[in-house]
Point group: C2
Chain length 335, copies 2
């Protein structure tokens, strides 16, 4: 069987060990992004640059680089730039979601109000642009700008299509591609570009990033309905309840249990908050999560196929490991 | 006297006639920036791209280009990009200021709420980045990103230094350089760069932009205290009252009329809204405005000196005309 080799790799977090030192360097570069700012801006930037995220996007940059010839200084900067861009979008997300904590630390809007949080997000985005402009030619920068635009576009679309019964599942996938997968794709695309790989290889790695990003968002959508807030380090259960049509909600509306399907469908049609405690114990709910998880798993498998184009290496195994870790995270969502 | 030639040019708005057609092209390019967006984002972008501003930054780009060899397609795109960047910052400003109208049309936050307005501003900024990436090399793009960062930094600083008694007048000038003059400077810098002018000339034109931008912000700060809302097309009297230490406020705190100085100083020290109806009728107030206006006028005069480096042309006269128009606007603020 084609994946027998990768299937042996299920020793958790091995993929992170391989790039541990380089991830620390990325964190250092992020921390240094406060340096251009004066005393009236710097403390706020220090707060947001101190947060410790999962570093998924930097991880993808570094592992892709390691698997295709080695990690350079440009890859470190690029990884930091992407994480900063991601962090900027989170600062604005937290304003919009009125979230008080993120990654277990108080959000800028909770600490200093919405006004400063909006401006701080803008400043982080601008600083990411400055970093991006130092990395490559204008064609490369254009790709970063286009991805940033798609990210914003996805966020706008999500916010304007709450409770939108006309949204199809294909549109849902396109929406999460924009709001989440675009940065995963950019991570692998950019890493490959900086490595000087040929066009076909760059394109395939970008496709792998897109697949993983979509899978990751499906995981996040399932976690919102099934996870524990302590483990997730953020408020849960709010997305779908507030009218975001996520994949599990689509499956719930199509459930064979007519009570469940009718209730969820009725809530969406009436633009009314879904009370998930009414459906969480049903087999229909478990089935909706399982079907969603299966969609994620199949994308991970497709993503792994791209890895056969790369020469065998520890880093290639680590990339495979990362996809298996995502499999596990998805599977853990099943009730 | 050195400026006798320019002094003859005071026929209002002549500078706009010279570039009227090109400004229309810039408006067309701005209107076309909605095209990449799908049906769930586009209507919102169309609303914000329809607004008709004073087009000061595009005007500076075009006149600089016309005075240094001619307006190219790149100048048109660059002018549109700068205006879009400026418009993006206004969309976020209106969220922060809770403003309902801007340029006589309803603001995005008034129409669709803060959430969408924040995301829309982000999207406009990203689209400006895409346009910027198509214009030049990475060194040029880096300058645009640095300017955007300074713009954001200025906004953060303004918001964190309300009622800040420790702020010096030098710091006020540095703050308005960042929040306003940076885009004026970028307009003239970029126009000269796209024209391929030598380094000394680019630097001088950038300096001229900085001077005009600072002067323009002084005008705006005076207008906030003396203008009519109908004529300005926006809500006035809020900046200084809400603790922004603007130049007229500095002069009021130093007024020889101890009642006025004491009242304003006391409000600032107590972080208490200044009621300008209590001071507007005084000679001290008129003097504070006159002193502020004089600061603006002297910067305009210094800006005009740069024009002698350019060959005589209709466009050079038009640039001079623009600075005289700003003189008039400043003078009109005097009670």
């Amino acid at each position: 069987m084609a994946f027998s080799f990768f299937n042996k790799l299920r020793n958790k977090k091995q993929h992170l060990k391989l790039i541990k030192q380089e991830l620390d360097k990325v964190r250092d570069v992020i921390a240094r992004q406060v340096e251009p700012f004066g005393p009236h801006v710097r403390p706020y930037m220090e707060h947001v640059c101190r947060g410790r995220g999962k570093m998924i996007r930097p991880g993808l940059v570094l592992l892709t680089a390691a698997a295709t010839g080695g990690i350079t200084e440009k890859h470190i900067t690029y990884a930091a730039m992407l994480e900063l861009l991601h962090m900027a979008s989170l600062v604005h997300d937290d304003v919009l979601d009125k979230a008080d904590t993120r990654r277990d630390i108080a959000t800028p809007n909770a600490l200093w109000g919405n006004e400063l949080a909006v401006l701080l997000g803008d400043t982080m985005l601008a600083q990411a642009m400055v970093m991006g402009a130092e990395l490559g030619d204008s064609r490369f920068i254009r790709r970063m700008a286009l991805a940033t635009r798609e990210l914003c576009e996805g966020e706008v679309e999500q916010s304007t299509r709450l409770w939108d019964m006309d949204m199809t599942r294909a549109e849902y996938y396109e929406l999460i591609r924009k709001k989440t997968a675009v940065l995963f794709a950019l991570a692998m695309f950019g890493s490959a570009m900086l490595q000087g790989l040929d066009e076909e290889m760059v394109e395939q790695l970008e496709r792998m990033g897109t697949l993983l990003g979509i899978s990751y968002q499906i995981y996040d959508d399932c976690l919102d309905l099934t996870g524990s807030e302590d483990a997730a380090g953020k408020t849960l259960g709010t997305d779908a309840a507030k009218g975001k049509l996520t994949l599990p909600v689509f499956f719930l509306m199509e459930a064979s249990n007519e009570d469940v399907a009718g209730y969820v469908h009725g809530c969406v049609a009436a633009r009314q908050e879904i009370d998930f405690s009414r459906v969480r114990h049903t087999e229909a709910f478990a089935e909706a999560i399982r079907l969603s998880v299966a969609e994620g798993l199949s994308r991970n498998a497709e993503a792994r196929e791209v890895l056969w184009m790369l020469p065998e290496s520890e880093a290639r195994s680590a990339l495979a490991e990362m996809t298996y870790r995502l499999d596990e995270m998805l599977e853990d969502c099943c009730p």
